[in-house]
């Protein structure tokens, strides 16, 4: 396996960092770096999940709404229902897995298109979140008894924000799963040539469903971190566009939407690129309304440059 794609994303990331650092001394300040690492960690985790789905040739559009639904539920469990955190946290993560399994079964069992299934998920979970929260912003207020969970989102280890540490842990497991395990081999085979995988005796349905379960689980973990990071969950806007961040991170990081291509390292670098761009908008006095426009432009230029370099070589 060549690292060409990862190296080119790394170059893009370094170039962006150099530009922002030269324009704004604040970029390299400890606070700014810590804050960015926290966001990269949180967004990186669900981006890996979506990347796994994209490697099978599928797509997951439900991430933002899952974050909203699970965030609302987490708040209700801990604050309204007074569940112990040791129950609420596993329950939320399990629910994420169940939602993912539902997507996977609808896609493999009924032959529905991933785009449709997860688009319906996007709408369904958003609506459900708003309904069960009575469209009222939820939070954790001053309720006590779950400081350890809060510290996962807002704490640090040796100056490194916890979400980033969690991302590294997730990435290590995901790397082994994707690049060293039998499941990963089967996952890439399904994405590369689903017919050849089936003819080789691979259970394509189980492999594909597994990818959506992974995406749901990682979205749930991120949802917990985001809920505590924002500490206020407005059900109609919480997590908006997160699915698109995830898809962008995966694609910038070298996943092909046709499936069969991608790596954990690439996805993380992609997630980092997106956060540096957001940071750039903040620090360089770009009107914040241009936020998305700058992100779109940078991704487009990156994709174009990559394609031109690729053609040059072949």
């Amino acid at each position: 396996m060549t690292m060409r794609k990862e190296i080119s994303v790394l170059v893009l990331l370094a170039a962006l960092c150099a530009i922002v650092a030269s324009q704004s001394p604040q970029f390299l300040s400890v606070t700014n770096l810590q804050n960015m690492a926290r966001l990269i960690g949180t967004y990186g985790i669900f981006s890996i999940g979506v990347g796994v789905v994209i490697i099978t040739g599928g797509i997951d559009l439900s991430i933002g709404s899952i974050c909203a639904l699970l965030g609302v539920l987490l708040s209700m469990m801990l604050v309204d229902w007074q569940w112990p955190a040791a129950v609420a946290v596993p329950a939320v993560i399990a629910l994420g897995g169940v939602l993912g399994a539902g997507h996977g079964l609808l896609i493999t069992g009924f032959g529905l298109q991933p785009f449709i299934v997860t688009l319906c998920g996007l709408l369904l979970y958003r609506g459900t979140a708003r309904y069960i929260a009575s469209d009222v912003t939820k939070g954790f207020g001053s309720a006590a008894g779950f400081e350890w969970v809060r510290s996962l989102a807002s704490g640090s280890v040796a100056g490194i924000p916890m979400p980033f540490v969690l991302l590294l842990g997730t990435a290590a497991i995901a790397w082994i799963l994707l690049h060293r395990s039998v499941y990963g081999r089967h996952l890439f085979a399904v994405g590369r040539n689903v017919d050849a995988a089936r003819y080789a005796g691979i259970d394509v349905r189980a492999v594909t469903t597994g990818a959506y379960v992974i995406s749901g689980l990682l979205a749930a973990i991120s949802a917990i971190l985001i809920a505590f990071y924002t500490n206020s969950i407005s059900p109609s806007t919480h997590g908006n566009f997160y699915e698109l961040y995830a898809i962008a991170a995966a694609v910038v990081g070298g996943c092909s939407l046709r499936g069969g291509e991608g790596s954990v390292l690439g996805i993380i670098l992609g997630a980092a690129v997106l956060q540096v761009i957001r940071n750039l908008v903040n620090l360089m006095d770009v009107p914040s309304s241009l936020d998305f426009a700058v992100m779109g432009a940078v991704i487009l230029i990156g994709a174009l440059a990559d394609e031109l370099v690729r053609r040059e070589r072949t």
């Binding site: 395990s181 081999r185 890439f188 085979a189 050849a196 089936r198 003819y199 259970d203």
Partner: protein
């Protein structure tokens, strides 16, 4: 001479490694039906594609009404009045019959707005259907059958075919080429189609009718033109047309039993693999029975569409059989998925290796170890060194030519790609291997290597089924030959009794 609408003179077409057409001549008069017959690979499709403007000939010329013409695109063919009705009917399911018949030549009104003139299109469509003997208006009144407002997706195959023929007529086609028009029709529908062909002949349309089914050819043709190995092999006028004679023309050749083919000892009777009452999804009405001895190579011959691939795919679980039993060493097996077949050591070498066999972007190593990566894993984690060693050895045992075991297989030659597929299965103790067109698109050298591998496997006790359209391959490699027609096994020939003529007679049944 002017009554010859179409003259094909000395047409030649060469592809890398194959001469598809070698100076072929055909004449066609108005109001004449010429049947074009030949084995798979005789050059019929190539000739048809040249007339349809899809291929350019390397030599020779096509004359229409005595004037040489250049057919350099499908639209040029349409302009010249040549229409080809392909086996895969080119219709748009979501549009109605009138819209399909006028597709690409829609009637419009409203000047620059170019709005669709549905009434004019319906009139055109009705007129075209009328020429096929279909009264669209009456059908619409009766609320039954084919009429101009029926959605094409709701039509049966035979009716869709009539829509494509009507489209050709609406485009003023004078020369109609029907490619295996009856291959997916029932007997009744076929008879109706022959009626339509007679009707068009009476209207002066010149028709080339390509078919494997000699009964139809006898019924409809004014003349039969036989192609063999890309050359004219003779023609027969109406009245002389005789099935036996046609078959002989199709296959008559000096069959060179290659020196490389050693006269094999006959395989001792030791039943290893049995198929009983197997019904495939495509031919559920037909039960197939086969008994194979250990170490035997059974060739499966037949024309395209005779159910050979379906049989192979049912045995290997790709498209599970709807009924029937498969036994290995007397033990009945349950095979619902490729996984089941592979678990019993029954492996398929598929016809289309790029689509069904290989991951083109992945390297030789991953392609070889794909079905059995578990063997190189502990607790779900792959032992990469063991995997690489396994792949390297498997590739070396078949002398796969690749720069390394990480070379993407898409960059390898057809022969080497096939060897990668073989290396995959050979490294997994095969008990039964089913080859579907094992040497399609493979050059002569690699071909001989693949035959040698098959013989070596058989000698080591693996039982082999080999589906092939290449009659020489069938004769060279097989111990026995089963011939199929319409999903049925029409005969099993022993090696010594097997001649191209016998095979072809059984294949056209």
């Amino acid at each position: 001479m002017t009554d010859r609408v179409l003259q094909v003179a000395g047409i030649a077409k060469r592809f890398p490694g194959v001469i598809a057409l070698d100076r072929v001549d055909i004449d066609l008069r108005a109001g004449e039906v010429v049947a074009l017959v030949g084995e798979n690979g005789a050059g019929k499709s190539t000739l048809m594609k040249i007339l349809a403007g899809l291929y350019r000939p390397d030599a020779g010329e096509v004359r229409l009404d005595g004037r040489p013409v250049t057919i350099d695109s499908p639209s040029a063919a349409a302009r010249l009045g040549i229409a080809v009705i392909h086996q895969e009917l080119e219709v748009v399911d979501t549009l109605d019959v009138a819209a399909n018949i006028c597709l690409g030549r829609e009637a419009v009104w409203g000047g620059p707005l170019r709005l669709l003139d549905r009434r004019a299109m319906q009139a055109t469509a009705a007129a075209a259907l009328e020429r096929l003997g279909i009264n669209a208006r009456r059908n619409e009144m009766a609320g039954a059958g084919l009429h101009v407002r029926t959605r094409v997706g709701a039509l049966a195959t035979a009716q869709r075919q009539l829509v494509t023929i009507a489209r050709a007529l609406a485009m003023d086609a004078r020369i109609l080429i029907l490619d295996e028009p009856s291959s997916s029709l029932t007997l009744d529908d076929t008879n109706r189609l022959l009626e339509v062909v007679r009707e068009l002949r009476a209207q002066g349309v010149a028709i080339i009718y390509i078919s494997h089914r000699l009964a139809e050819v006898e019924a409809i043709a004014d003349r039969v033109v036989v192609l063999r190995d890309g050359r004219n092999a003779g023609s027969l006028e109406r009245g002389q047309i005789d099935r036996q004679v046609v078959v002989r023309m199709m296959v008559d050749r000096e069959v060179e039993r290659t020196a490389a083919a050693p006269s094999r000892q006959s395989v001792p009777a030791d039943v290893h693999f049995e198929v009983a009452g197997l019904r495939t999804r495509r031919y559920p009405a037909v039960a197939v029975d086969l008994t194979l001895n250990r170490g035997e190579i059974l060739g499966i011959a037949g024309l395209i569409g005779s159910g050979r691939t379906e049989l192979a795919e049912a045995i290997c679980g790709v498209t599970p059989a709807v009924a029937g039993t498969v036994r290995l060493d007397g033990r009945p097996l349950r095979i619902d998925t490729p996984f089941d077949a592979i678990a019993h050591g029954i492996y398929l070498v598929p016809e289309d290796r790029r689509r069904h066999g290989l991951m083109g972007a992945a390297g030789v190593r991953e392609n070889i170890t794909l079905p059995a990566i578990n063997r190189h894993a502990r607790a779900g984690l792959i032992a990469r060194r063991a995997e690489a060693a396994w792949a390297r050895q498997a590739a070396a045992s078949l002398s796969v030519k690749a720069a390394s075991i990480e070379t993407p297989v898409a960059t390898l030659s057809g022969g080497n790609q096939q060897k990668v597929v073989l290396a995959r299965w050979l490294s997994l103790d095969p008990r039964v291997v089913v080859f579907d067109e094992p040497t399609r698109g493979i050059d002569v050298g690699a071909r001989a290597e693949i035959y040698a591998v098959m013989r070596r496997l058989a000698a080591a006790g693996t039982t082999i089924m080999m589906v092939s359209s290449d009659i020489e391959e069938i004769l060279d490699v097989s111990d026995r030959v089963a011939v199929m027609h319409d999903g049925r096994i029409t005969g099993i020939l022993h090696r010594d009794a097997c001649t191209p003529e016998r095979v072809m007679q059984l294949a056209v049944a």
